[in-house]
């Protein structure tokens, strides 16, 4: 902490002599007031409490110097505690105030030097990708030093530091890491070594040549040493990008090799390639991949709570080529490709996209084959109205006998209709219709949302959201199960069936956004929203369902 204070003081005291210009300050401050009711998931440890989440971003520029600061704060009101927490193993309802990100950078011509928190990616992320993925609440930087040289013919980048994940999780509005082990003995517990950050060391260098200008050749080397290990994983990477080919074509290929020989573990490898062509007005994109044991990630502590299971911090991001964001799948061992064909019919204003993908994922007995096809149509309608329709079929089948078969139809649509002047209405849906077969037992269920909206540009918008998720209609309440187990131990009559309770399958929420001034956005939501998985590329996490009320205020000044 002292080191950061020292850096902050040094930066603030930077003499005016560095620049004749006066400094500029841009702030963005978001304050969220959230009241959580019973979200109907039959867990007691995430209901009936309140929280205030504050995220303050500052960007200041003074001549060639840029200073950035982010301060996060989280305060709980009447959070779950006591037996509820002990029974379910969570202990992350702790107030937090932290300088989450702090950085300084200096630019001079082609040179840029950075110290502090920075996002880093090499190529298309096979070797290294530390970036912010807002939809997943992931915000991991490298806290260290970075040097970049961007010449016309050559680009060189060197980095070194420790991974810094944001402590506050904006998705479930809690501390990201369980602060303590969930196994209590009396009142004793031991604290999680990942209480604050993964703090894995990463060092790397990337060199990219750009001669001629349409040919980019890159090589990179990354070293990662995880927080509790003495061995290093080495990642050797290379990329080729070729633009301005015939047929307005472009080619990109990237490969990386993960050398884990110091551990005596199996190495990993990954290759990704894409070709883009314009075939007489039709856009054709071909992508292919082959990943074997290919992942660069932190090591979760052995005492992780169940909340941390979907938070594996991954430091590379190989494209998954999956078509739907709601479906997590194995991208660590995966081989396959995707074809996309798109066209715009000038006379009717119709845009059509046809996409097909096929993969084999997993290893040995868990190996699966995935086939997916989808068609999207966009149509400009009279009076500035716009229609989007999408539909597709996905088959996820085990290669061996007896595994789970998952068959899916999906559809998505949106109609936007300007009504009068700045007023417009909208109607939309996104639905997944599943059929699963496991050991002869066939089941069908539906997940999705439909909504109607109104907007008054540029001041106001409101949406009513209807959700359904009947994959599970009942669930075991862990607290009630423990109560029945305790009864059984004491020789009292007990029945585990008493722990089974229905879960919410239908959801309804009203959401409004108000833009009273250029510097102010106010958003409010009341009702319930379904949870579920969400994936961006190969990174996934589980959204918890929500019930209650939220107000978020964003100010820029």
């Amino acid at each position: 902490m002292k080191a950061w204070r020292g850096l902050l003081a040094a930066l603030l005291a930077w003499p005016a002599a560095v620049s004749a210009q006066s400094p500029t300050f841009d702030s963005t401050w978001t304050v969220g007031l959230h009241a959580h009711g019973d979200n109907g998931n039959e867990l007691d440890d995430d209901d009936d409490y309140g929280d205030v989440l504050s995220i303050y971003d500052l960007k200041s520029r003074w001549g060639d110097h840029t200073f950035s600061l982010r301060v996060d704060a989280l305060r709980f009101v009447a959070p779950p505690s006591g037996d509820v927490i002990r029974d379910t193993g969570t202990a992350d309802y702790a107030d937090e105030y932290t300088i989450e990100k702090l950085g300084w950078s200096w630019r001079s011509g082609p040179m840029r030097v950075g110290v502090g928190d920075q996002y880093v990616s090499f190529g298309r992320g096979l070797s290294l990708s530390l970036r912010k993925i807002d939809d997943l609440g992931i915000d991991t930087t490298l806290r260290g030093a970075r040097l970049r040289w961007k010449g016309k013919l050559l680009r060189v980048e060197g980095i070194g530091g420790w991974t810094n994940a944001s402590n506050l999780d904006p998705i479930n509005e809690r501390l990201r890491f369980a602060s303590c082990t969930p196994t209590f003995e009396g009142d004793e517990f031991s604290c999680n070594p990942l209480r604050i950050d993964p703090a894995d060391f990463i060092g790397g260098v990337r060199v990219e040549s750009r001669y001629p200008r349409f040919l980019h050749l890159g090589v990179s080397e990354v070293a990662m040493r995880r927080w509790d290990e003495e061995h290093t994983t080495w990642v050797h990477g290379a990329s080729l990008s070729l633009a301005k080919l015939p047929l307005d074509g472009a080619v990109y290929v990237e490969a990386a090799w993960m050398d884990r020989s110091e551990f005596g573990l199996e190495d990993g490898s990954g290759v990704y390639g894409s070709i883009d062509l314009d075939l007489w007005g039709w856009s054709l994109t071909l992508e292919g991949k082959r990943y074997d044991n290919f992942i660069l990630q932190t090591k979760l502590p052995p005492d992780k709570s169940h909340f941390s299971t979907d938070r594996t911090f991954v430091y590379n991001e190989p494209p998954s080529l999956e078509l739907l964001e709601e479906i997590p799948y194995d991208n660590v061992n995966s081989t396959g490709g995707r074809v996309r064909l798109g066209h715009r019919f000038e006379d009717t204003g119709t845009r059509i996209t046809v996409t097909a993908a096929g993969f084999a994922t997993g290893l040995d007995a868990s190996r699966r084959t995935i086939e997916h096809g989808a068609v999207t149509m966009e149509q400009d309608l009279p009076s500035r109205a716009h229609l989007t329709l999408e539909g597709g079929r996905r088959l996820d089948l085990p290669e061996g006998r007896g595994g789970l078969e998952r068959r899916l139809w999906h559809t998505e649509g949106k109609l936007v209709v300007p009504v009068h002047g700045p007023h417009s209405g909208s109607l939309g849906w996104s639905m997944l219709f599943w059929d699963t077969v496991a050991t002869g037992d066939e089941r069908s269920y539906t997940q999705g949302d439909a909504y109607v909206g109104y907007s008054w540009a540029p001041r106001f918008s409101a949406t009513l959201i209807f959700g359904i998720d009947d994959e599970l209609t009942e669930k075991i309440n862990p607290r009630l199960l423990k109560r029945e187990q305790d009864k059984h131990r004491q020789g009292l009559p007990a029945d585990p069936a008493n722990a089974i309770q229905p879960v919410r399958t239908k959801f309804f929420a009203a959401q409004a956004t108000w833009y009273p001034a250029q510097w102010l956005i106010v958003q409010g939501l009341v009702g319930s929203l379904r949870g579920g998985p969400k994936c961006i590329g190969s990174v996934c996490r589980i959204y918890p369902p929500f019930s209650g009320a939220k107000a978020d205020i964003t100010m820029r000044f």
Binding site: G125, L153, P319, Q518
Partner: protein
């Protein structure tokens, strides 16, 4: 000998870079000179873009952002209409590794003739909008002064943007 070769290479690179800051461009003072690759294999430099135009719109988007794709054709029309008067729009994509391959196809299918810089690290996007709620645009004058910013897209927003552009270019012409 090796040191000499390295020095020579650094000098060569310095020379290359120095030409990017050649005379005729007054460096706008309030924003860093972000440099990005473009989707067609070219280069984008923010200072050069600002210095060469009276009014510049930086529109941040991504292939997976549906409202962005509703807004972009409107911005393209404004760029076509006000281009001769000194207005230029840049469609800066923040697509990451997963969706980068689809950028060029999207540009074609939406008929975008604007320059499309690639910002996969979100360096530039984060500078202007730390929360990065897409779509997002920032309108700047040639000195790098921010005239207006806007987050999200509601049908009709383009009318307001048109009014701002007309007002600025009209005043500038007086």
């Amino acid at each position: 000998m090796r040191a000499l070769a390295v020095s020579a290479m650094l000098l060569l690179m310095s020379g290359c870079a120095a030409r990017e800051h050649g005379p005729g461009h007054e460096a706008p003072g309030n924003v860093p000179d972000f440099r990005l690759d473009t989707v067609d294999g070219g280069q984008f430099g923010l200072h050069e873009a600002l210095s060469s135009n009276r009014l510049v719109l930086l529109s941040f988007w991504a292939t997976w952002c549906a409202p962005c794709k509703l807004e972009l054709p409107h911005i393209q029309r404004l760029a076509d209409e006000f281009g001769p008067k000194g207005f230029t729009a840049y469609a800066i994509t923040v697509d990451g590794p997963e969706s980068m391959a689809g950028v060029k196809a999207t540009v074609r299918e939406y008929g975008l003739s604007m320059v499309v810089p690639l910002d996969p690290d979100r360096d530039m996007a984060e500078f202007f909008d730390p929360k990065l709620l897409l779509p997002f645009w920032v309108l700047m004058d040639s000195r790098g002064q921010v005239i207006k910013t806007h987050q999200g897209y509601l049908p009709g927003d383009e009318t307001r943007l048109r009014e701002v552009i007309e007002k600025f270019l009209g005043e500038g012409a007086k």
